[in-house]
């Protein structure tokens, strides 16, 4: 289900309380749906055992 301007507004009212102009909600919904699409696209390679904290360790392990 896509993120709607109304959903974002309700989320904001309940949790974030950030002053956001009325005309921004449709634009924000477009942006958030794009980011959600990217997040979903990463799921096929999701690894249950992957610790995000491994990132610097992987960098160091490939040190030249």
């Amino acid at each position: 289900m896509p993120i709607t301007p109304q959903l974002l507004k309700e989320l904001n009212d309940e949790t974030q309380n950030i002053p956001i102009a009325k005309e921004r909600w449709p634009e924000l919904a477009v942006e958030l749906n794009q980011l959600r699409t990217a997040a979903e696209a990463a799921l096929p390679v999701h690894d249950f055992d992957r610790d995000p904290g491994e990132f610097p360790a992987v960098l160091r392990s490939r040190q030249t």
């Binding site: 990217a38 995000p52 990132f55 610097p56 960098l59 490939r62």
Partner: protein
Amino acid sequence: MSQAEPADGLSNLSLCETADLIKTGKVSAVEVLEACFGQINKLEPIHHAFVWQDRESALNRARWLDSVRSRGEIVGPLHGVPMAHKDMYYRVGRVSGCGSRIRSREPGKTTATALRKLDNAGAIDVGGLAMVEFAMGPHGFNAHLPRSLNPWNHDRVPCGSSSGSGVAVAARMVYGSLGSDTGGSIRCPAAANGVVGCLPTNGLVSRRGAMPMSWSLDCVGPLTRTVKDAARVLKVIAGHDEPDGSAAAPPIPDYESALEQPVAGIRIGVPHGYFDQDLDADVQKAISESFDVFQQAGATVVPVEIPKSVSLSSDLHPLVMKAEGAANHRPWKRTRAAEYSEEVGKRLEAGFFISAVDYINALQYRVFALEDFLGAVFRRVDALLTPVLPIPTPTLEQTAYSNGPAYLKMVIALTRNTRPINFLGLPALSVTCGFTSDGMPTSFQLVGRPFSESTLFRLGHRFQMETKLHLAMPRALGA
């Protein structure tokens, strides 16, 4: 555009040349600083690279450094070299405004590790340089500050967010500058202003005392006029820093001493996929000619398929950056929203609605993407060469916020090639490689394995020695 007098002889020297002249007593730190002041006097009123200057402190320090030198002592490899930095590096008791209203009156409670290391190496801090508000934006515009102008063409953006750093170094006002790079904020202004920009491996340089924009993506690095200068500055600022938990602790090589080693045998990758898409013809030509230069110098040029994970890394970069940025700014966004510019205030908003699950999944994907990239690219080559900006440097009008969808498209295009490298945490060196038909400089970035800055410097230095493109002068300097 008004044409200034050519840069003063001293100002036009490189950072290393200047430091070496001071070291050998051929010129004093005060003389060098006064040459920089002369250049600033001529060009700053038009270019607006500085947010503030502290000439008195700088002059006092230059006098002290000269007195030390007169006793036959040298403080370090940057003894007497005037520098100025993006106005987001804290110093105890001094205001670093971060390009914002919110931070415009708050004195620093700590001194940035990078500044402290530069101090210890003998550098002189001349002032704070213009930047995009809270480093959030790639084109260089800040509604709170006078517009920084690109010395190559005043109708073109200087890019950002380290806009003042690019302008001040290109205009020979200072010899080098610290920028910061979360998605391209060192490499893009370096490219737009025809100077060198170095994005170190994530964690190589301490971020302690630097304004946070996105803790997992931010990197501190130098902008200079030559690769050799960047190598010298990075050697000074790199290394472990106990209070910065994210700082890595590799041995820091002597980058400068490796610069003259031959490049024969180094394999440079020609990207097939992602980085070769949507390229302007002039940029494409400059990139092709760069490969020719390296081949003639003895390097091996190897085609390499770019893994699909790079495209998704590019799409996930803003998710991570915005989530982390929103977390930093939440209290101010609630209580001081009116103090943000319209553009940056809006840019922060999406981050408040990214789920923690999506954010953590993106961080997990980052590990996969890094391993994927290392396997696909660096099993075959030692460095990957891509354009920094896939398009010619945009005009001021093209990046106007009022431009609506065209503005958004432009902003995304500016960091297309740089942001995935931040996501992967890899080092990259931006070097001018030619000019587009409108006379603006354009650059490649050499991307390397983790902590392979030495190889990138070697390649970049050789390129500058072969082409001498780094000696080209911006139009505003009377070129």
